[in-house]
Amino acid sequence: MKKGLRNWRLFSLFGMMALLLAGCGKPFLSTLQPAGEVADMQYSLMLLSTSIMVLVIVVVAIIFVYVVIRFRRRKGEENKIPKQVEGSHKLEIIWTVIPIILLLILAVPTVLTTFKLADVKAMNDKDRDKKGTVVVNVRANLYWWEFEYPDYGIITSQDLVVPTNEKVYFNLIASDVKHSFWIPAVGGKMDTNTDNKNQFWLVFDQKATDKAGGVFYGKCAELCGPSHALMDFKVRPLPRDQFDAWVKKMQNAKKPVVTDPVAKQGEAIFNKSCIGCHAVTPLDKRPEQARTAPNLANFGDRQRIAGILEHNEENLKKWLRDPESVKPGNKMTGTYGKLSEEQIDALAKYLMSLKVE
């Protein structure tokens, strides 16, 4: 009975906190509105630690307020000499032992969760079902993201497409400086190092995806240069059947066929100035060192221009005209000479026509 009461108290404290925090932030971006198993586990740990810590704060606050009010030096006490107390073993033991117990309560789930989140055995299993466990190679670059699906042989950039309600595994690496891969609503981050490959997994919940409007925001979380703040990416989780359909389309997307005459003109410019870095087919066979710019195969389907601007031709032209003004320090500035307005129009038309869906 007593234990039940205690549980109930803890539960109500939890409930209060959850209610308080859930109002915070956007469903596509906030860690407080977890959208998958990983974020869920982390959120529970956050709630547990916050509850314990609120308890500590309350105890300190009560003593604090009492002491500061009760023991202030009042008029007429100018010469009062309080008793010089050395200490109290009993009290000191109490405030050593109780925190230790509180920390143990936190330490156990912390350790368990840490191990659970690091469990990537399934992706490294030689005999794994390649259709069943999706693995994505994430490569972070100044200031864009490449997503390679090694089992499907396709590559895309900036917009990550994943199936919902299942574990998705990631290999993470950076090609220039250290970055960090973070989708706040879906789960905690992991660094993309330049030295070694990191691995972790995430789950994208279908209901939460619907609530977030179908797209989650991804961020670079490690200072990586002038445009660190602008190194966003987007995540588009799809139900498994739609994901499979998307993969099929990507695999079948060979060379883009352009019919519009202006776009055709754009294609010519692209083939002269851009194709050295940018591929326009998802089946880019070049080694990763040669893939120095985002794959543009499904550019027309993307969420944003350069990861940050709203996806329309006007912004694309702005980006092509002067990339430096949009993303300072980017690697595209100055690589293709000066384009005339007409050429930019043609190029924009062509790029917007690159679609697989």
């Binding site: 915070c24 300190v60 500061v68 200490g87 989140l117 993470l172 190092n193 002038p226 660190h228």
Partner: protein, 623 residues
């Protein structure tokens, strides 16, 4: 001040400070230089907050923002907080242990000038192409990629030079505290601030070498063709992170332990009670320092060290909360049953408890590795460490300034202005940083120069910027207070607050050049308080009055440090210009030449004769 110093021109005063080896004057130097860098770092903070006041702002964009951000952190940690703490250590510790000076006065001056020239060199980068721009942590891959200007070289060389100074200061305090305590001052009778200084110095001694190693590696990589951090040549960038944080985490305790020491003095003084649980306070301090070396990797949970390392470092980090909690409760129970007088320093001390507890509990939250994957490198972390460093260290610096100002300068800072400063700073601080917890939890990464609208971060950032201006106004009022006090402040007796407990309050304010005419005999904790309780006004002397041996002033510390300053310029530019190498060598010649001079010139110091001491003491008593 002594008769000699009374009627001197500006030039003579300047020369006096350039050559001084007196710990009290070196404290002034640390206070002035540290204060200057504090204002600079504060200005940089304001620029950051102005840029972030609204989404898509274009006040401070991209690379320039990163420079300001890097310099804000580097300046505040290395050039403001630490030197300001060193100011109080220098001003107070020799007095608290009943010593006439530190063990190595020459080294003390050298330490200051090293720090000063290192800091100056670092800030010269602003005028020479650009400041360092890889964050105060300067992670290797980004630092090596920063090739547009020499910013990072100013960082590696500047911090090496100022690091020499810091480590010299630490060794000096260790030797001083071990060897120069007055008779009867056993270790367990040392005031808490002296204890904190002692433990902090040990921390510096062990924490700075890893940083120096890291900085030398990086300097090699950038300037001398090294490959320590080049994965293609067998190097590894993660090593930098380890080296940096093996230093970086103890650094946090290097800042906070002396702050704890300052607050311990203030709580006891203004509660008129001895520190509750003194022995457990000492033990907790040592324990925090010890644990401090075993938790560095909690800054690297997301690096990919694997679950075993993450779990171990998570639990070790949680353990630090225990001794820290012990301290909080001891302070509360120092006030319990006391007679609390709410002076300006006590305002800061009282406000410190809830503020620091906030920073402490978010620290425990961050230690939960799996949850840290969410907090890491988000504004939650920014909020956390500002709660610790501003709510802990800066509050302590402001408290210490008001508390020891009368001891250092003989005049009381205006209490009304002091309290106005406090309220503005306190409100501004919470306004700025509390809301940043939520910015981080709702997905805002740290170190971003801008953010797009419609991500739910507009209000939080606006409030945060408003708070920063409160703190700025508070700082301006403090400066006004200092000016007014210097011009026409009320002169104070030795025991300026009337409730002084430790030895520094037993001698004149400011103390005479030799501190104690006769070395005192210490009969317990809070030595001066014990004497006062027995109705005495002075300490019991442990020796007869005699001639006092003093060290000579010297200009060499300045020259030695200046040589390194010159050498650093030379080596920074040795790949770009022909003059680089010769200038670098010239600088080293200046440094080693002056060190040689120091070694061969006999300097026996001088004596202040008994009669002179008697005369000075009489004047001090009348002042």
């Amino acid at each position: 001040m002594s008769t000699i110093a009374r009627k001197k021109g500006v030039g003579a005063v300047l020369w006096d400070y350039l050559t001084t080896v007196d710990h009290k004057k070196i404290a002034h130097l640390y206070l002035i230089a540290g204060g200057f860098f504090f204002l600079l770092g504060g200005l940089e903070a304001l620029l950051i907050r102005i840029q972030l006041v609204k989404p898509n702002n274009d006040f401070l964009v991209g690379g320039l923002y990163n420079e300001v951000l890097t310099m804000h952190g580097t300046t505040m940690i290395f050039l403001a907080a630490m030197p300001l703490l060193f100011a109080f250590m220098n001003a107070v510790v020799p007095l608290q242990i009943g010593a006439r000076d530190v063990a190595f006065p020459f080294l003390n001056a050298l330490g200051f000038w090293m720090f000063f020239f290192g800091g100056l060199f670092l800030n010269c980068s602003w005028f020479l192409g650009g400041a360092p721009d890889a964050g105060w942590t300067s992670y290797a891959s980004l630092a090596l990629d920063s090739k547009a200007h020499h910013g990072i070289d100013f960082y590696t060389l500047g911090l090496q030079i100022s690091g020499f100074g810091t480590i010299m200061g630490a060794i000096n305090f260790l030797v001083t505290i071990i060897n120069m305590r007055a008779p009867g001052m056993t270790f367990m009778r040392m005031p808490m601030f002296t204890w904190a200084t002692f433990v902090t110095s040990a921390l510096i001694l062990f924490a700075f070498p890893p940083l120096t190693v890291g900085l030398i590696f990086m300097m090699m990589d950038r300037l001398f063709g090294g490959n320590f951090f080049n994965p293609a040549a067998g190097g590894n960038t993660i090593i930098w992170e380890h080296l940096f944080w093996v230093f970086g985490h103890p650094e946090v305790y290097i800042l906070i332990l002396p702050s704890f020491g300052i607050f311990s003095e203030i709580f006891a003084t203004f509660s008129r009670k001895r520190l509750f649980g003194y022995s457990s306070m000492v033990f907790a301090t040592v324990l925090i320092a010890f644990f401090g070396f075993m938790v560095w990797a909690h800054h690297m949970f997301t690096v990919g060290m694997g679950p075993i390392a993450n779990a171990i470092f998570a639990v070790a980090t949680m353990a630090i909360a225990v001794p820290t909690g012990v301290k909080i409760f001891n302070w509360l129970f120092t006030m319990w049953g006391g007679s609390i007088k709410f002076t300006t320093p006590m305002y800061y001390a009282v406000a410190f408890i809830p503020s620091f507890v906030m920073g402490g509990v978010t620290g425990v939250m961050l230690s939960a590795a799996a949850a840290d994957y969410q907090y890491h490198d988000s504004y939650f972390v920014v909020a956390h460490f500002h709660y610790v460093i501003v709510g802990g260290v800066v509050f302590a610096l402001l408290a210490g300034t008001h508390y020891w100002w009368p001891k250092m300068f003989g005049r009381m800072l205006n209490e009304t202005l002091g309290k106005i400063t406090f309220w503005l700073f306190f409100i501004g601080f919470h306004l700025t940083f509390f809301i940043q917890h939520f910015l981080g939890l709702t997905g805002m990464p740290r170190r971003v120069f801008t953010y797009l609208p419609n991500q739910g971060w507009e209000t939080g950032n606006f409030v945060s910027t408003v708070g920063a201006f409160f703190m700025a106004i508070a700082t301006v009022i403090l400066l006004i207070n200092i000016v007014i006090t210097t011009v026409k402040g009320e002169k104070v007796p030795g025991d300026a607050w009337g409730d002084g407990r430790t030895l520094e309050w037993a001698i004149a304010s400011p103390p005479p050049v030799y501190n104690f005419a006769q070395t005192p005999l210490v009969r317990g904790l809070d030595a001066f308080w014990l004497e006062k309780m027995e109705g005495k006004k002075e300490l019991t002397p442990a020796e007869p009055l005699g001639d006092i041996h003093m060290p000579n002033s010297s200009f060499l510390p300045f020259i030695i440090s200046f040589g390194l300053f010159v050498a650093a310029f030379g080596f920074t530019y040795h790949n770009d210009a022909g003059w680089g190498l010769p200038v670098g060598i010239l600088g080293l010649l200046i440094t080693f030449g002056s060190m040689f001079l120091r070694s061969v010139i006999d300097d026996h110091g001088f004596h202040i004769h008994k009669e002179e001491v008697l005369e000075l003491e009489k004047k001090g008593a009348n002042a």
